[in-house]
């Protein structure tokens, strides 16, 4: 498409097709079909986790399609003393859009758009119920900050679903380096002036060594001052609770019907879109982590309940197939590695 504005005749052609019985779409999909999705993890070797995702890429010449690159990077932050760190670590998400994705937008409009996307992604993923347990390093001193950066390379419609899927895949792929705290001990009973704390960062909780001598000795807890990486070459362990990251499903609404995975032209013909961010079996069967309407249509409360119900079904499908694909990716990469 040269531009996203379309004529009234095109708009009504698309809408009539959605509402027809049986419904028909420009590319012959049914209302609830997705285009083909291509996914690859571990694409950015300098990041702790990364993924590249494309919806609707032409399989032959690679043209068209919405393409998103997402990468997670971990950094150490000081807690207190002017550091930005937060006890237990924090997450910050950014979405940036390549001008190539929106060649017709001015740079100000592009900034607004990426700000909107950043807000939606950041607000959803930084919610405390999703917070991974293993982002702390030293209690009260140091913690990881996880920067998740998503770059929209090309937009051919349904960019929110793509961003969330890519984000989930990148976070799934993220490995947190194992750390071991280093402790400087005061001279005690003629012992060594300096000793190393021993506790190896194990599963889940590895923030502080607790070489307990006396449970009431509060100094003990504060003595660890720094940390080291026991094994530089070790990739580390996956982010805790990586199954919990939500997926997003965009319901494109042409009253009284709705459809999924709109192309850019279809989006231009859709007055109202509803984004639903959902996660499953964690620990509730379904949890809604976010919901947002885009566009200027209106919905009744009853309709929202209905859409939520339908959205739950679609999102579970995305969830299941994305999980299967991510597991397959992990297997493939293990296989790759065992070759060496």
């Amino acid at each position: 498409m040269a531009s996203t504005s379309i004529s009234k005749a095109e708009r009504s052609y698309i809408q009539a097709g959605i509402l027809a019985n049986p419904p028909s779409r420009a590319d012959g999909r049914s209302l609830y079909d997705f285009r083909n999705i291509a996914l690859e993890t571990g694409v950015a070797p300098l990041a702790n986790g990364s993924a590249r995702l494309s919806i609707g890429r032409n399989p032959h010449d690679g043209s068209g399609g919405t393409e998103v690159l997402a990468a997670a990077k971990l950094e150490v932050e000081n807690i207190g003393d002017g550091g930005e760190g937060v006890e237990g670590g924090r997450i910050s998400c950014t979405v940036s859009c390549s001008p190539a994705a929106y060649p017709h937008l001015s740079s100000n409009a592009l900034d607004d758009l990426q700000y909107d996307m950043t807000t939606i992604l950041n607000e959803t993923l930084t919610h405390r119920v999703l917070h991974p347990p293993n982002l702390g390093i030293l209690r009260g001193k140091k913690a990881w900050v996880l920067h998740l950066d998503a770059v929209v390379l090309y937009d051919e419609g349904n960019v929110y679903d793509a961003v969330f899927m890519a984000a989930r895949a990148a976070l799934w792929d993220t490995k947190v380096p194992r750390t071991r705290s280093v402790e400087y001990q005061a001279k005690r009973k003629g012992g060594a002036t300096k000793g190393n704390a021993e506790k190896e960062g194990g599963s889940g909780d590895m923030d502080v060594d607790e070489e307990v001598v006396s449970g009431f000795d509060t100094r003990q807890i504060q003595t660890a001052t720094d940390f080291e990486l026991p094994d530089y070459w070790d990739e580390g362990e996956p982010l805790g609770g990586r199954e919990n990251w939500p997926v997003c499903v965009t319901l494109n609404i042409v009253q009284p019907s709705h459809f999924l995975d709109a192309t850019q032209t279809e989006e231009a013909a859709t007055p109202l879109r509803v984004l639903l961010m959902l996660a499953f079996d964690t620990p509730y069967p379904t949890s809604v982590l976010g919901m947002r309407t885009l566009g200027n249509g209106e919905l009744t409360a009853a309709q929202i309940a209905e859409l939520l119900k339908a959205g739950e079904k679609y999102a579970r499908e995305i969830w299941t197939s994305l999980n299967a694909k991510l597991k397959e990716e992990t297997m493939n990469r293990l296989k790759e590695r065992s070759k060496f």
């Binding site: 005749a9 095109e10 009504s12 028909s24 690859e40 032959h60």
Partner: protein, 318 residues
């Protein structure tokens, strides 16, 4: 339905079996004495790329896609060398549309300005459609009035698609269009496909009607309009002109089978052009028959194997 795949290996095609030399060592492929060669070779599609010397500027004239430096004609785009008598030009394989007077184009209104519309036609600049170059209601040849100027959005507004002919060029190279024919005007009842302009060949007619009840307008600028077949009342002239219908934004009723046929044709065009096969009426018809024969729905064409099979049946040696 949702399915995941993997990306094809990005650099699968790059070859590392070729030997690399120091730039001073010429590869055998390079022609050292191109001047002699040039006259000898026919109009075979020989490929070149910018900075390549083609011939001497004393014996030949430079055409598009070339420049002269130091008495040499040098290519400035990557593409095929074309020679007509003493004129040498290079035609880029992929580029924006280069208009010529008389070309049929499909365009989209981007802006309404005083007494003119700006039209995106996939060219280096937006084309211009003057208010004086469209048919006005109430007779083709009447004078335009001030009231026409005030209701220009009643004829065409931003986003509208139209089919028009290239009338002339302005001094800066922008093209001017006209729709002063009953065949031209606003487009309804269908959808647009965009393809690289080189894949739309010049045909006897760019208005095609496929027997499945689908009309096609192959714009030479690479914009293709696929729509429901409308019976044209053959009467030309002022009586046939109905302003209501010509500038209407409302679609006719389109039945399901026509809708299916439209999406199927759209898909065939997408598949063929993604394989970089130029479109002709015969080819499209053959491809359509093939898909009907194989009882495929438009959805099947989304699958790569199916698309490949289609192209293979059209161009067997591919």
């Amino acid at each position: 339905m949702i399915s995941f795949t993997s990306f094809p290996s990005r650099f699968a095609e790059s070859s590392y079996d070729s030997t690399r030399h120091h730039p001073n060592v010429k590869d055998d492929l390079m022609d050292l004495d191109e001047y002699e060669d040039f006259a000898a070779q026919g109009s075979l599609n020989k490929l070149t790329c910018p900075g390549e010397s083609l011939t001497s500027s004393q014996a030949y004239m430079r055409g598009h896609g070339t420049y002269v430096d130091n008495e040499e004609v040098i290519a400035s785009v990557a593409g095929t060398i074309e020679r007509v008598n003493k004129l040498v030009s290079v035609r880029a394989i992929r580029s924006r549309y280069n208009p010529e007077v008389g070309d049929l184009v499909v365009g989209r209104i981007t802006e309404v300005q005083p007494r003119r519309w700006k039209v995106d036609a996939n060219s280096r600049q937006d084309a211009v459609l003057m208010l004086s170059s469209v048919n006005l209601p109430g007779g083709v040849q009447r004078r335009k009035l001030e009231s026409d100027e005030l209701q220009m959005r009643g004829f065409f507004e931003e986003g509208d698609l139209l089919v028009a002919e290239v009338q002339a060029f302005f001094s800066d190279g922008a093209m001017s269009l006209h729709t002063r024919s009953l065949k031209y005007g606003k487009l309804r009842n269908g959808q647009l496909v965009t393809v690289p302009p080189i894949l739309v060949r010049r045909l006897k007619s760019h208005f095609l009607t496929l027997p499945c009840g689908v009309d096609l307008i192959l714009g030479l600028n690479g914009y293709i309009w696929v729509s429901k077949h409308v019976k044209t009342n053959e009467q030309e002239g002022e009586e046939g002109f109905d302003a209501e219908a010509v500038y209407s934004n409302v679609n006719d009723d389109i039945d399901d089978s026509t809708r299916n046929a439209i999406s199927r044709v759209t898909h065939i065009i997408r598949v063929l052009t993604s394989h970089f096969v130029p479109l002709t009426d015969v080819l499209l018809l053959e491809a359509y028959e093939w898909t009907v024969e194989h009882e495929s729905t438009a959805k099947d064409l989304l699958q790569q194997e199916f698309g490949d099979a289609l192209v293979a049946s059209i161009a067997p040696s591919q």
